[in-house]
């Protein structure tokens, strides 16, 4: 892929136009930004016992996690499934564009949305939720959530490579919403039945939120390294699966 001929301009333009194209799709932008903010204001701020800000802080972590998952999974799954179905991906692959430019562009879009969601929720938390954190906690949480988009982008990529453009949105929702609930992103995981608490370990969103909560000393108390290792293993496994599927999809059509 890196033949020295591919210039930085391709990567920049690919990323810019992916973002522009997504930004001009209100059906994507509005739910992606509004849902986490509205849910957080409702459950994290409005229903929070006033004065302490501790529930607002806890929910800030879990709703940030909920917020960054959506755009990563949806942008990858839906636009890749659609580009495949429409033949646009085939045409791009026949051009000299490196596949990495295409995938990194989608990653960049996911990161921009993640950053916007983080800024929106952090502002809401500080302004209305009486959440007071140290500077390193704000920064650490923001950085963690940005890096945390990776496994969800990979899940989206896998779905985008395997599903039809018609099936992709439905399947992503079918995965996204239960995964968020079972990872304790809407209700604290400790409020879930025992079996569900154990099943939470399956989901990357659980481990990401626990790492975030650890920054605020509000986690369940498992080792940070364990959560981190499970996130890395999940991401590595997903990467491998994506590579295999990518070869098969590319070879078959």
């Amino acid at each position: 892929m890196t033949s020295g001929m591919t210039s930085l301009a391709i990567y920049q333009k690919e990323a810019w136009y992916d973002l522009v194209s997504v930004w001009r799709t209100p059906g994507f932008v509005l739910p992606a930004l509004a849902f986490p903010l509205v849910f957080y204001l409702f459950f994290g701020v409005l229903f929070s016992p006033s004065g302490s800000g501790s529930q607002a802080a806890y929910m800030l972590v879990t709703y940030s996690c909920f917020g960054i998952m959506g755009p990563a999974m949806f942008n990858f799954a839906m636009s890749i499934a659609s580009d495949r179905a429409q033949g646009w991906l085939t045409l791009k692959r026949l051009s000299p564009m490196p596949v990495s430019a295409y995938l990194l562009a989608k990653m960049a879009t996911s990161l921009v949305f993640a950053l916007l969601i983080i800024l929106l929720l952090f502002s809401a938390a500080a302004l209305f939720g009486e959440v007071r954190l140290y500077q390193h906690q704000w920064l650490g949480l923001a950085l963690l959530m940005l890096l945390g988009t990776v496994p969800f982008a990979l899940i989206g990529l896998l779905l985008g490579l395997t599903l039809s453009d018609k099936a992709a949105p439905g399947v992503v929702n079918l995965l996204y919403l239960p995964m968020a609930f079972l990872s304790g992103l809407w209700l604290p995981v400790t409020m879930l039945p025992h079996l569900m608490q154990q099943l939470a370990w399956l989901w990357p969103s659980y481990h990401l939120s626990q790492l975030g909560l650890k920054l605020l000393a509000m986690d369940q108390g498992h080792a940070a390294l364990l959560h981190l290792a499970l996130l890395l293993v999940t991401s590595a496994g997903l990467t491998l699966l994506c590579l295999l599927v990518f070869r098969r999809v590319i070879g078959a059509k």
Partner: protein
């Protein structure tokens, strides 16, 4: 022809290309050669293997056996180098590009892929969409979309250009405009491989037409050579003779009666006409015409393809 163009240069060559899907042969021994400045038109009914052939050439699928040379380089499997892709242009039948990006933005993006290609502005001009540069792809008409895709195929100033049904959905005027552009490219020495359902398009543009049927080329030649392959002519007239009497005329292979007259297919048109005029002095509206390529094409691809092309026996049997 541009004197700078070396027309001996072979830009695409296939030898004995085979490809099967699940044990069913789709390409069975395809040979093909396209030179610089040549428009090669691949004709064939649906299912003839056109898509598989183009996919194998472009490296979207790997052929089972046979050699593919692109720009003189032997290709391995289903991978095509970036350096090669810089010099290829491809227009496929595409459902949609990202609908929310404008014409100018699509041109800007595609122009950035190529080292020595056209600028975004030049691509908009090539597409003839200057007045629609700021229009989103989703709001273009079918013909305008095709013109944009055609321009994107030219983004890298390709030496070898693949056009799959390029004028699909275009009105007559737009179609003629695109033909003009294809002729200009041909004069610049671009080698063009074209698939089309419009036979007029093949007749107008092709130096050579190759007819693909059940994974093999069953006929190849210039449009006029291909016409000559079909050995009969069509005679239409109004005659008082009975069908039996008409069929008994020398050279007549087939007869179709229509309200406005009768159509005869003849292997020896001159003799048929002479005998017809001798037998019936009331004949009117007599017309002798060459078989249109469209009919030739139907004739070529009818049957199992192993028969001689345009076989009279086959026609008689029908």
């Amino acid at each position: 022809m541009n004197p700078d163009v070396n027309t001996d240069q072979t830009l695409l060559q296939l030898t004995q290309l085979h490809k099967s899907f699940a044990g069913k042969p789709v390409l069975s021994g395809v040979d093909l050669r396209a030179k610089a400045g040549e428009v090669l038109c691949i004709l064939g009914p649906n299912g003839a293997g056109k898509t598989t052939l183009i996919s194998a050439i472009l490296g979207l699928i790997a052929a089972d056996s046979g050699d593919i040379y692109l720009l003189g380089q032997l290709q391995q499997g289903a991978s095509r180098s970036v350096a090669l892709r810089q010099q290829l242009g491809v227009m496929l039948q595409i459902g949609s590009l990202p609908a929310t990006l404008t014409v100018a933005e699509h041109c800007d993006l595609f122009a950035s892929y190529y080292l020595a290609g056209y600028s975004a502005t030049e691509l908009v001009t090539l597409a003839g969409l200057e007045a629609h540069a700021k229009q989103r792809f989703g709001r273009l008409s079918g013909g305008q979309k095709q013109r944009l895709l055609f321009a994107l195929a030219l983004a890298g100033k390709p030496r070898l250009l693949f056009l799959d049904e390029p004028t699909l959905g275009m009105d007559v005027e737009a179609r003629r405009g695109l033909w003009q552009q294809i002729r200009q490219l041909q004069q610049q020495g671009v080698s063009i491989v074209l698939t089309t359902h419009y036979l007029e398009e093949a007749e107008q543009l092709a130096n050579r037409i190759m007819v693909l049927h059940q994974g093999k080329f069953i006929a190849s030649g210039s449009p006029s050579e291909l016409k000559a392959l079909t050995q009969y002519k069509v005679i239409t007239c109004c005659s008082a003779l009975t069908d039996a009497a008409l069929l008994a005329l020398p050279g007549v292979l087939q007869l179709n009666r229509q309200p406005q007259g009768v159509t005869l297919h003849s292997s020896h048109a001159e003799q048929t006409v002479l005998a017809l005029l001798t037998a019936d002095n009331t004949v009117s509206q007599l017309e002798v015409s060459q078989v249109a390529l469209e009919q030739a094409f139907l004739q070529l691809t009818r049957g199992d393809g192993t028969e001689a092309v345009g076989s009279e026996k086959e026609e008689q049997a029908a």
